[in-house]
């Protein structure tokens, strides 16, 4: 069950990287960045997942040795990471909008005034 998650995370990361390498469109580069983010998020959530565990919501009195729940820390991490990913994506998209205004294109082959 969990292996699927790991394989999925790996596939997402690799797909994201592929997208960044191969696609000559700034929008697709952004999508690639997003996919990498999601892949890592999936990985982190899977790391904290225990098969059959409950949601980690307790009051102190309910908590005992026997309580079996999924690790809450990775979920917090994922949340933070999602927020950061959203910011990064927003930033990247706004840069794409401005690049389109300045260069008149979003083809990476033509956005290369800084080179050499």
């Amino acid at each position: 069950m969990l292996q699927v998650n790991y394989i999925g995370a790996f596939c997402l990361i690799v797909l994201g990287m592929y997208c960044m390498i191969a696609k000559k469109n700034l929008m697709k580069t952004c999508i690639g960045m997003g996919m990498m983010d999601y892949g890592v998020n999936l990985l982190i959530v899977s790391v904290g997942f225990h098969d059959g565990g409950t949601a980690p919501i307790f009051v102190i009195s309910e908590l005992s040795r026997a309580s079996f729940f999924v690790d809450p820390v990775p979920q917090a991490l994922t949340l933070t990471s999602i927020v950061i990913g959203a910011c990064t994506t927003a930033m990247a998209l706004s840069l794409v909008i401005m690049a389109k205004k300045q260069y008149g294109t979003i083809n990476t082959e033509q956005i290369r005034r800084l080179n050499g």
């Binding site: 949601a55 919501i57 949340l79 927020v83 927003a90 909008i97």
Partner: protein, 154 residues
């Protein structure tokens, strides 16, 4: 995808769900320190109600209803509040971000105040972001659309 003129169904639905969405968001913010969720999620929920408003009433109405400048400037106020409240711990002789009860009779903890500050900040920030994005992306289309509609009517 272009949206046609706002239909009455969307408007009615929005009128119905807007308060619900907002209240749910506020609920999540307020209970952030004791239950799952918290400032960020609640803030985003409230802000997403804006999308509903946009769908129903359009960009111009949205811009006139939500005061972008005000939200933008008070957004940083929330952060300042957060840091100041967190610093209370330092000046009271404890550590930064320490959670303790400020007003025992109301069960108000510093964590709650901080949570609310985050909620407000996120809400203001995301609303500003949405307004900026929606107006830059759709302003031209809308004008053209309205113009063409008028022509058709004439």
């Amino acid at each position: 995808m272009k949206l046609k003129k706002k239909s009455i169904i969307v408007k009615c639905a929005a009128d119905l769900f807007l308060p619900l969405a907002s209240i749910f968001g506020i609920y999540v913010v307020m209970h952030g320190n004791t239950s799952p969720g918290g400032g960020f999620q609640g803030g985003v929920l409230i802000a997403s109600a804006l999308l509903l408003f946009f769908l129903a009433y359009g960009g111009k109405k949205m811009k006139s209803t939500f005061h972008e400048g005000f939200l933008h400037s008070t957004e940083s106020l929330a952060e300042v509040v957060y840091i100041v409240v967190a610093l209370i711990g330092v000046f009271a002789g404890f550590n930064f971000c320490l959670n303790f009860i400020v007003f025992p009779q109301f069960q108000i903890e510093t964590a709650m105040v901080m949570n609310d500050a985050v909620g407000y900040h996120v809400m203001a920030g995301v609303i500003c972001l949405l307004i900026v994005m929606l107006t830059t992306l759709n302003s031209d289309d809308e004008d053209v659309e309205e113009g063409s509609d008028q022509k058709c009517c004439k």
